[in-house]
Subunit: 135 residues, 3 copies
Amino acid sequence: MIKPLTINTTRQGLLNITSPVAAIVRESNLHEGLCTLFVQHTSASLIIQENADPSAKRDLEHWLNRLVEENDPLYTHTLEGPDDMPAHIKCALTATSLAIPIAEGQLALGTWQGIYLWEHRRRGERRNLVIHLGG
Amino acid sequence: MIKPLTINTTRQGLLNITSPVAAIVRESNLHEGLCTLFVQHTSASLIIQENADPSAKRDLEHWLNRLVEENDPLYTHTLEGPDDMPAHIKCALTATSLAIPIAEGQLALGTWQGIYLWEHRRRGERRNLVIHLGG
Amino acid sequence: MIKPLTINTTRQGLLNITSPVAAIVRESNLHEGLCTLFVQHTSASLIIQENADPSAKRDLEHWLNRLVEENDPLYTHTLEGPDDMPAHIKCALTATSLAIPIAEGQLALGTWQGIYLWEHRRRGERRNLVIHLGG
């Protein structure tokens, strides 16, 4: 079973999307299975991260922004803005697809795990995900 | 269903493999499902990236080559050549497996997404992938 | 089918978990299918790496420790110890889930591939994985 999920982001950074994904899993009535998320973009990615302390999320964003700088003289792909080439690199370093088992009708996430959409463009965008639910 | 896919690479870098993967999906006659790619090597990896502008691909290759340098004095694993240990590290930072939903009989890729095999050895190799198609 | 797998780690680094995963695959009696591993933590991750030469494993650990330093002045999330924020970043750069096809009743790993749990905390922890086996 395939379900679309559209998320409007408004700025660069990690956005917790656990709730809408969990809702799709609940509606599927699958007791056991696998939920696979796929993001249909090359400037936004997926990640499982700590959901408790917002400082962990912030440090992660800052660290990756420092590793993958804007306006790096190495870049030749610059027509789409200074945040575009860094966005592609950040996608390469994180995940485009993510698989989470379903157990007892729920996502088998650990206590401190949340599912995040990582928007890498500064302004945000309309982001389309495709979710596959299998037995 | 399991299908092998062998790709001969000739040099380091990203190689677009969307067409052969899409052909395997078409032949499967699956209307909805999940296509999982797995690469059976530790010096080549998988990635979804922009398929439009070749400069994005080139910048990505250059950026990763700068991050993961050859002849780093840190390396002790050097017997298989100066590109071998960087290849293992690059695999760790990118993906060995990748899952793409199938919708309406086709890979549910975004408009600008292509599937790439990332060859990390300088000379290229015969690379074996295993593709799983599930409902 | 969902199976839990608990691994007790004793120190930071890569731990080969191919044997217990292969045992679960064997017990499933699946001839063809997909084995998906998921780790329920944000300070340990999954990776496929070379299983032959221990120096490759060691170099990889050292390289990532140099890239993602402890006591980086950038960090504000420091209450859980100097190895905690680096652990979250390392998880972001590696994998939380990993899918490996099953062919002829076995994991379709390449000759030199092993499945590793990467413990990012210095002291080790009790780590819970969830394994999904599908046809």
